[in-house]
Amino acid sequence: MSLSWQVLTSRWMPALGELCTWWLQELREMAEVLLGRVAPRWVTRTMVWLGPHSGSISVVRGAQRVSVSPLPEDILGKPLETGNVLEVPKVVRGTRAVFAVALEYVLTHTLTLPASVAADLDEVVSLQLERECPVPLDRVYVHHRIRRRLAADRKIEVEILIIQRDRVERLQALAQQWGLRLVRIGVGSGDGDVAGNFLRTPQTTSRRRLSVIDRRLARSAVALAALFLVTLAFHWGYERVVVGRELRRLAPSATAADRLTQQLRTQAAPAEALAALMRQSDALDTLITLTEDIPADSWVYELEVSTQGPQAPRIKLSGFTPVATALVAQLQRSGHFDEVRLVTAISAGLGSGQDRLQLTAREASRVVASYSTSARMPAQGSAQP
C-alpha cells in the first residue's frame, strides 16, 4: 500500500500536475482568444521588448499584435534618470504589461537532477546555485523550470535563468513610471514568445503554496465534508432502521385490523344486503302508494304488482275512471310512478260517465324509510261503479 502510494506520489502526481497545468493553460489561451473577439479590452496586454540594440512597445489583443512605439537603444544598460522619463502612448497606460528581455541580459544554466528531487526543486536549485553561480544569489533573480523528464534514467533536466537584481528593479521602476501593471518579466526570443518569470521568486511562489495552516484548514474542510457525508448516511440509515422497527411493531395490529375488516365485511354482507333490500319498496308498498294516488272517483278492479329483488315494482291495473287520460296524467304528476302507459281506454257504457281503462306503470325509484304498519288501505277508491 505504502509502495503504491509512493509510486503514485513520485511518478504519477507530477506528471498529472504537469498535464493539468498544460490543460488549464490551453483552456486559458482559448478563453483569451474568445475574449479577444468578444471583449478585446479584457485581454489587452502590453508587450515591452528590450533588446541590446533596440526595443519596442506593442499592444497584444489575443493573437493580434500592434506596435505602438519604439524604444531607445539599450534601455536596460543605462541608469534611469529622474525627469527624463520616456513618454509612452496613453493607450497602454493601466494595461497589464509583460517585459521580455533579450537573452544577452540573462545567464542560462542547465542542471540534470534525479527525478525524486522534483518535489523539493527550489531548495535543490538554490543549493546548486550557491556552489555554481558566479554572482552572489542575493544580487540576482532566478527562474527555473523542468525542461524535460528523462523517464528511462529517472532524471529531470532543469533550465535555470538568472538575471541581475538591479535590472529587474529598474524594469519595475520603469513600469511604474509608465503607468503599467507589471505582471511578468521573462526572457524573450524575439518572435513574441516569453520564457520564465523573474517576478515569481521562491518567496512569491511559496505564497501561492499551501502553508501548514492552509493544509490543516483544507484537511479540516475535507474531514468536515466527510463527517457530514457520514452523518448524512448514518441519519438516512438510522431513519430506515427506526421506521422499519416501527413498521414491524405495528405489523401484527395492522394485519389483525385487516383481517377483522375483511371478516366484518364478509359477516356483514348478508345483513347489508337484507337492509338494502328492505329499503326497496315491495309490492305491498306499491299497493299502498297507489291507493293514495288513485283519486276517489276512480275504482280499480284488477291490479297486478310485480317486482324482482331491487328492481322497481311494475304495475298493471284495470279499472274505471271518469277520464282515462286524466288518471294517467295524475299518476305521472304524483312523482311516485313513471313510464305510465295507457294500454286501452273505452267508454264504460252509455250514460255511465266512466271510462274503462287498462294501464301499466313503474314505480319511481325510491327508498322506503321503514316498514310502517300504519293502517293504509289497499288500492281501492271510494267510488263504486
Partner: protein
C-alpha cells in the same frame, strides 16, 4: 516519455481540440460519476421517505382501529337485523318455515288461505330467498290487517308479486270480497343455506289449507 511530451509537439489546433475534448470528458465524468448518483440517491431517499410516511400512517391508523374493529365484530352478531333472517336448522326446509309464518299471519288477519305452494328460490348478494305463493279471498279490511300482520312478522317477508281482483259490479252497502294472490319471500344467509340444506327444487305444490 510523459503524456505531456506526447502532446506538446502537436499543432496548436490539435492541442486545443484535445483540451476541449478533455474538458467535455471532465464535464461528462462530473455529471455521470458525481452529480447523477448524488441526485439519484437524494431522490431515492425522498421517495422512500414519502412511501414510508404513507405506510407508517396507514399502519398506525390500522393499529388504532383494531380495538374498535374487535368491538364492532363482537357487536355485529347482536344486531337486531339478524333476527329478520330465517335460521335454518339442519335438515329443515326453509319454505316450510315461511309457510308456517304466512299461515300464522293469515290466522291473525282472519284470512283463509286457499292454496299455498313453494316457488323457485333465488340467491343474490349473500342472501338466499325462498318464496311461497298463495291465494286467498279476503275483504279490503282483511287485506289491510293481513298487510299489517305481515309487516310485524319477526322475520322479514317480502311480497314480490301481488294480484288483487275484485268483482266489477259491487253493491254500495257491501264490502266485496277480493281475490288476492301473493308471492312472499323469506331470506336466509347464503352461508346458512350451504351449511344447512341444499336449495330445494321447485317442488310439487302441496295443498295446504287453514
Amino acid at each position: 516519455m510523459t503524456r505531456l511530451e506526447l502532446i506538446l509537439p502537436k499543432t496548436p489546433v490539435r492541442r486545443r481540440i484535445l483540451a476541449l475534448l478533455m474538458l467535455a470528458f471532465a464535464l461528462v465524468v462530473l455529471w455521470g460519476a458525481v452529480l447523477t448518483p448524488v441526485a439519484w440517491i437524494a431522490r431515492s431517499q425522498g421517495e422512500w421517505r414519502a412511501d414510508a410516511r404513507h405506510e407508517l400512517a396507514r399502519a398506525r391508523g390500522k393499529a388504532a382501529l383494531e380495538p374498535a374493529l374487535r368491538q364492532r365484530s363482537a357487536d355485529l352478531m347482536r344486531e337486531p337485523i339478524w333476527s329478520r333472517f330465517y335460521d335454518v336448522p339442519l335438515g329443515q326446509d326453509v319454505t316450510a318455515l315461511i309457510q308456517r309464518d304466512v299461515l300464522s299471519v293469515a290466522v291473525k288477519a282472519g284470512v283463509t288461505i286457499q292454496a299455498i305452494t313453494p316457488s323457485a328460490a333465488v340467491e343474490e348478494g349473500g342472501l338466499a330467498g325462498y318464496g311461497v305463493r298463495f291465494g286467498a279471498s279476503m275483504s279490503a279490511d282483511q287485506l289491510s290487517r293481513f298487510v299489517d300482520a305481515l309487516r310485524s312478522s319477526t322475520h322479514y317477508l317480502r311480497v314480490e308479486r301481488l294480484t288483487v281482483t275484485s268483482p266489477q259490479l259491487q253493491r254500495v252497502d257491501q264490502n266485496a270480497p277480493l281475490e288476492v294472490t301473493m308471492e312472499v319471500f323469506g331470506f336466509t344467509r347464503s352461508a346458512d343455506r350451504r351449511a344447512g340444506m341444499p336449495m330445494p327444487p321447485p317442488p310439487e305444490p302441496p295443498e295446504v289449507s287453514s
